[in-house]
């Protein structure tokens, strides 16, 4: 679920950001550097930064929510002590981390579409939706596959975010397979169980990856 939700968010937001970055504007190189920072930062250290932001006592998010009146007297968000809030926190970090990578890849895909193709679609009377779904999307399919596959790989196989942020808690409700495998296999000493947990979803992912890579190759050839 973490992988699915964060990937949908990453691809959607990455598309919006990539389209915005396609335009020329003052300070574009600085914006690019700033947007790229989450991807370049070591994930374990970046997660510590988020841990401080989501701290139960000193959370700056809670301070802002208090100031704007969202949280009334006696109300408080324990970001890492509540199942739903904990999941939101983990997904937020994955989206924050993967968004720059997807954006620059999608940006490369968008800029590779020749202007003549858009002009031909305009002449044929295609509207914005028809252009998006019948011209841009099919031509972006191979690069979209690269973005999604690497996003899935980095999100699915990562355990550091969960390990440092919630340790799988509260009540093991925010564990991902990688962190559960580490807990059972390495910390718990049950190597067989840990290995079984780790490879549980691999067959599904393998089939999905093969289908996506084949489809993207076909689109590339066509």
């Amino acid at each position: 679920m973490f992988t699915l939700v964060s990937q949908v968010a990453v691809i959607t937001l990455g598309n919006i950001l990539a389209r915005a970055l396609m335009k020329t504007f003052r300070g574009k190189s600085v914006v690019r550097l700033l947007i790229l920072m989450p991807w370049a930062a070591p994930i374990s250290l970046a997660t510590l930064g988020w841990l401080w932001i989501f701290d139960s006592t000193f959370s700056v998010i809670n301070w802002v929510l208090k100031v704007v009146g969202w949280l009334g007297p006696g109300q408080w968000y324990y970001w890492l002590g509540d199942t739903t809030l904990g999941m939101i926190a983990i997904i937020t970090i994955h989206v924050w981390r993967m968004l720059p990578f997807s954006t620059v890849i999608l940006l490369a895909g968008l800029t590779s579409i020749p202007q003549e193709v858009h002009e031909a679609a305009d002449i044929d009377g295609a509207g914005p939706f028809a252009k998006a779904f019948q011209v841009t999307l099919p031509m972006m399919l191979p690069i979209l596959t690269v973005a999604v596959l690497f996003g899935v790989v980095f999100t699915f196989t990562d355990m550091s975010v969960v390990y440092l942020l919630t340790r799988g808690g509260p009540y093991n409700s925010t564990h991902v397979l990688a962190s559960l495998a580490y807990q059972d296999g390495v910390l718990g000493g049950d190597v067989g169980r840990g290995a079984a947990v780790a490879i549980f979803l691999v067959p599904v992912l393998v089939v999905m990856a093969i289908l996506m890579l084949r489809a993207s190759r076909r689109a590339e050839v066509a």
């Binding site: 947007i35 510590l48 924050w96 895909g109 690269v146 840990g194 780790a198």
Partner: protein, 287 residues
């Protein structure tokens, strides 16, 4: 004001807002780290319930005590050196494996080439925790951990596993097709092609490999956490949380200082080589 002008202004405003929103989302954690690094403890540890205290600004004069703690009371510089050493070794081993592998894959046309490329990529779908399981017992039986270089070698050995497949993939897509398909027949011509033609043309792919492998090493967490117990031999990503989180006590100022100091040079390095990196990653898909 004519309708077209209003529309133009609204579009420009919307564009600025989108850029501003995404930039704020990306940068805020780093801003928060910088502010935390230089804040006095009395300015830092004020509960968020106190709305009269603005946490975004310095309510007291900035201090360097957290940086002092980081550099004088932890082995931060040693961890940085360890990380760079492991990174350099991994990059070297990865290049040694990935460049010939990528070149061979690029020349292997037909179904088998495609199948092997997909097969190499699929190794990424196996969580690294599984690789840890298989090695942890074997290496714990060996004396590797007790030698001075043992922990370094233990974190170097698995690292090419995650970096090499992706690197082969990236470098195979960067081997120029035209030079691959020319009918060279003699050994001398083959050597000439490899040295003089293919390597210079594959530079973006090789650069991608270097940056990709270095990033994976710096980001790597689970191998270092599992295999290295000596604090002196740790890499940055594990040393910082292990040394600066003591039980329930978090040294937030020093932790955030370590995060900022480690992240900024990497971000600048990435930005410098970004175009080549993206070209190396996506050329197969966009060409």
């Amino acid at each position: 004001m004519p309708r077209s002008s209003v529309r133009r202004v609204a579009t420009a405003l919307g564009h600025r807002l989108i850029i501003l929103g995404f930039t704020a989302f990306a940068v805020f954690p780093f801003y928060w780290m910088v502010v935390t690094t230089f804040k006095q403890n009395s300015d830092l540890y004020v509960g968020a319930a106190n709305t009269a205290h603005n946490p975004f600004i310095f309510n007291r004069p900035p201090t360097l005590e957290h940086l002092q703690t980081l550099f004088e009371q932890t082995l931060y510089l040693t961890w940085l050196v360890n990380t760079l050493l492991v990174g350099a070794l991994v990059v070297a081993i990865t290049l040694l494996l990935a460049v010939p592998a990528g070149y061979s894959l690029a020349r292997l046309t037909g179904r088998w080439g495609e199948r092997l490329s997909i097969g190499i990529f699929l190794t990424y779908l196996i969580p690294s925790t599984l690789l840890v399981h298989s090695r942890s017992r074997a290496w714990s039986r060996s004396s590797g951990f007790r030698t001075p270089c043992g922990p370094w070698s233990s974190s170097t050995r698995p690292s090419p596993c995650p970096s090499a497949p992706g690197s082969s993939w990236a470098s195979s897509s960067r081997c120029p097709r035209r030079s691959r398909s020319r009918p060279w027949s003699t050994a001398a011509a083959g050597r000439l092609r490899s040295g003089a033609m293919v390597l210079p043309l594959a530079v973006p792919g090789i650069l991608t490999v270097v940056i990709f492998a270095l990033t994976l090493v710096v980001q790597e967490f689970v191998y270092s956490l599992t295999f290295i117990s000596s604090v002196q031999r740790m890499t940055v990503s594990v040393g910082v949380p292990v040394a600066l989180i003591r039980g329930d006590v978090y040294y937030w100022g020093s932790l955030m200082a370590a995060c900022v100091i480690t992240s900024l040079p990497l971000a600048i390095l990435y930005n410098f080589f970004l175009d080549r990196f993206i070209a190396g990653f996506t050329v197969g898909a966009v060409q």
